[in-house]
């Protein structure tokens, strides 16, 4: 997995009806955009390290030109 600061990581639900979770990448700690990532979770603003597994995908955000 490769991510950049500002990307959103989505963790897909494992069971039927389990919601997806998401967090924002604040820092990339691995080489070449690799994990681990320092992330911020939802509204609480709490930060943790994130080690992506097969249940996670990255949503890249391209900067928009004014």
């Amino acid at each position: 997995m490769h991510a950049s600061i500002g990307d959103r990581i989505v963790i897909h639900g494992h069971r039927i009806g389990e919601p997806d979770r998401d967090c924002e990448v604040l820092e990339v700690r691995g080489p070449d955009g690799g994990p681990p990532y320092l992330v911020r979770w939802g509204d609480s603003g709490h930060e943790s390290l994130f080690f992506p597994g097969p249940d996670a995908s990255v949503q890249h955000f391209e900067p928009t030109l004014g």
Binding site: H14, C23, S44, H46, S48, L49, F50, G53, D55, A56
Partner: protein
């Protein structure tokens, strides 16, 4: 199959100085039941939702106490490139439900008994499919070699 291929869920880590309240919130928001406690690049402990209840709430530990006051240590680890069957032996020996997976000494994720059981069930289903097909549809002989 290597251990790293058997991991089904992402891993989440906290710093030792983060609070019990933060750890509980992160568990809730990330949907995991166990967090790695990581100091710099070093894995120093594991904290589970069960630890929060039994070692924290049941003993009136304040919610703003450091998470390393409740964590389990030392951590039983397995190398990411180890064979998945090595994990069975470790689970048998240590009697816990989670192993920290490390690569070059760094934490990369967690493998659980549930992960192993799901992989095992999938393997058994793959093995049983042709046997069940034979039981239902009968034996299928391969074609004889062509003769002139």
């Amino acid at each position: 199959m290597q251990v790293i291929e058997g991991i089904r869920r992402s891993g989440v880590g906290v710093r030792p100085e983060q609070t019990i309240r933060e750890a509980a919130t992160i568990m809730e928001q990330s949907g995991v039941g166990a967090l790695a406690v990581v100091d710099g690049e070093h894995l120093v402990g594991l904290i589970t939702d069960r630890d929060l209840v039994r070692r924290g709430m049941a003993r009136n530990v304040p919610y703003d106490a450091r998470i390393d006051s409740l964590m389990s240590t030392p951590v039983v680890t397995i190398d990411a490139q180890a064979d998945l069957h090595d994990a069975f032996a470790l689970f048998r020996t240590h009697g816990n439900r989670r192993l920290a997976v490390v690569q070059e000494g760094r934490f990369v994720g967690m493998i659980t008994v549930d992960d192993l059981l799901i992989n095992l069930a999938a393997d058994l289903a793959d093995l049983s499919r042709p046997v069940m097909a034979e039981a239902i549809f009968g034996h299928h002989d391969s074609a004889l070699p062509a003769t002139e």
